[in-house]
Symmetry: C2
Subunit: 353 residues, 2 copies
């Protein structure tokens, strides 16, 4: 096994906590000595122990760590947060070398973990290969705003629903499960008031029990006009209303209303950044999505294409706002889900090498 | 090697003549004795010798065929056309058994080849596995009309061009070469007068020198209004104009005008069937394609999806004619061409088992 193989093992560990770490990054670790894996571990959940500590806790005898090499997908932290700093634990355990996937872009760490280790006699090496584990986390600390993903299903002729007035289910079960996975990776999900009215969606993650499910956000001119009997309002989990007018009626405790003169995409991402939200999934409708594209705030587009034709009068995807051609996207991947095809594109500047 | 392996070898032979056989099917053959391939062959070109004769001609000594097994992708023909019947040649060569991919759906053969062989002491067996070689040929003889394919390139948001007034090149080189291959498999290509005006396309096959390139058809209300300085009219190869009014001006010899009170998709396919055209590729525009979908005359849809967003005011794909949802399509395949993705769907009733 080579360094990159152990690192991939650490990536697999990290992925076990998908959706569980909220604004924390996914992190996995593997402890190796004499080409033997001594222990593996990962950061299980927001507020719980970090991957390094989790890995060390799996050793039958702490002495085993003496002289071992730790592979960890992200630079060990150097600060006291909910947990004591990992680099201190690593150095104290007698680990000889730490092989690191990537430097932590969070200002509070950003190389300080590596400095601490080196100054305490622990060798370090950064080998890469883990950047796709925490796309939004990395993006957020570089760009100071959430990573925005647009998601829509469309027919083979590029339409999102049949008449524009009623919900059209285009995709099959497998694609719909994949949408749940997509939600898992986002801290907030946004829809417009029209989508709430026409689709009446839940926007919940039903494939996994999350300690902090994505905040569901409804963009509306007037929150008082929303139908509070919609299915979403009968579920638990935070719901934020972004409205121009104040909400005058009494609503459930999990619903909060924020007002601004105009909630442009730019205003929305600033607002979310101020709330430390690193990722936003815009699920519709096509007019709202068009606004995000026009504002250059659509970092990734995920579309599910179903093998049917909706034809002439159906509502097209990403429609409404006049805008110049946006050609700075790059194909990320293509995947079949039975009869449906998922295509993901990402803005070139958001693609990591 | 098993029967199906030899048959696949015969399929590979057949494919060598893609685009060359016009209304004839692609046919390949492999002659085998004692698990040794004695010869292979295929139907090279419309009017040239058939696959069986071509294979036999590759034997150093005709006596070798005695007692051999012939694998052929299509039932040997039984009629005198441009060539003497193959089943006669096969029987006379002393071939012991003919393993056949599929029965020829052409009424003039349709089992008569097999009957002839059996009654002349040659065993036959039909093993399948070759039906996708000649999709349009099979379709034409079953349905008595050409197999219709719609083709368009669209942006990730389902638009075909930026403003509806000018040509937008969406896809890259690899996808454009694939379009040339798609044309190769069609005997006719149709566009509307708007597409001629806006895109000014050649609609030629430039990757292979074809003895009979696809007939280029322009659908127009009034052929006299067409711009005969368009690039297409400066090329060789047949061009047919489907017009409501008679053409009054003199045009080049390769241009023919056909008139009818109204060229509906149904009328068009009837007209093409009468001319023995087995396959039609409708390359646009979106209004013409919409008419074919609405008339249930779009058997396959091939779309190339480019990683860019055209947004709000751009013209959507398959747009214009109000129609009910068409959900009888099935995903055929997905393929990447660098940055572009090709998705092919086919009407379920056209999918062969």
């Amino acid at each position: 096994m080579q360094d990159k193989d152990y690192m991939q093992m650490a990536v697999q560990e990290a992925l076990k906590a998908q959706g569980m770490t909220w604004t924390n990054p996914l992190v996995g670790a593997v402890l190796v000595k004499d080409n033997q894996v001594l222990a593996t571990g990962y950061h299980h959940q927001f507020g719980k122990e970090h991957a390094e500590a989790n890995t060390l806790s799996h050793l039958a005898d702490p002495q085993q760590a003496q002289g071992a090499t730790l592979y960890v997908t992200l630079e060990p932290c150097s600060h006291y947060g909910k947990q004591p700093p990992c680099c201190k634990k690593v150095a104290e355990a007698g680990i000889k070398k730490v092989v690191i996937g990537q430097v932590d872009p969070h200002q509070i760490v950003a190389g300080k973990g590596i400095e601490y280790l080196e100054s305490h006699g622990v060798q370090t090496e950064i080998i890469g290969g883990t950047e796709n584990l925490n796309v939004a986390y990395n993006f957020f600390y570089h760009k100071k705003r959430p990573f925005v993903t647009l998601k829509y299903a469309m027919s083979i002729d590029g339409k999102i629903n049949a008449a524009g007035k009623r919900r059209t289910i285009l995709t099959g079960d497998a694609a719909q499960v994949d949408v749940q996975k997509l939600r898992l990776h986002n801290q907030a999900i946004l829809i417009g008031a029209n989508t709430l009215r026409i689709d009446n969606p839940l926007l919940t993650v039903r494939i996994k029990n999350l300690p902090k499910p994505p905040i569901r956000i409804v963009l509306t001119k007037d929150a008082n006009q929303l139908d509070f009997n919609s299915r979403m309002f009968k579920t638990q989990g935070e719901i934020w209303l972004l409205s121009r007018t104040k909400l005058t009626q009494k609503v459930a405790e999990n619903v909060r209303c924020f007002t601004a003169a105009k909630w442009t995409p730019s205003k929305i991402v600033q607002f979310l950044a101020a709330h430390e939200i690193q990722s936003l999934l815009v699920e519709g409708g096509s007019n709202v999505q068009s606004q995000f594209v026009a504002a250059d705030l659509a970092d990734e587009i995920v579309t599910y294409i179903a093998p049917l034709v909706l034809g002439g009068t159906a509502l097209p995807a990403v429609f409404g706002q006049a805008l110049a051609e946006k050609s700075d996207y790059q194909l990320l991947d293509v995947k079949k889900f039975n009869q449906d095809v998922r295509i993901r594109v990402r803005r070139k500047e958001c693609l990591q090498e």
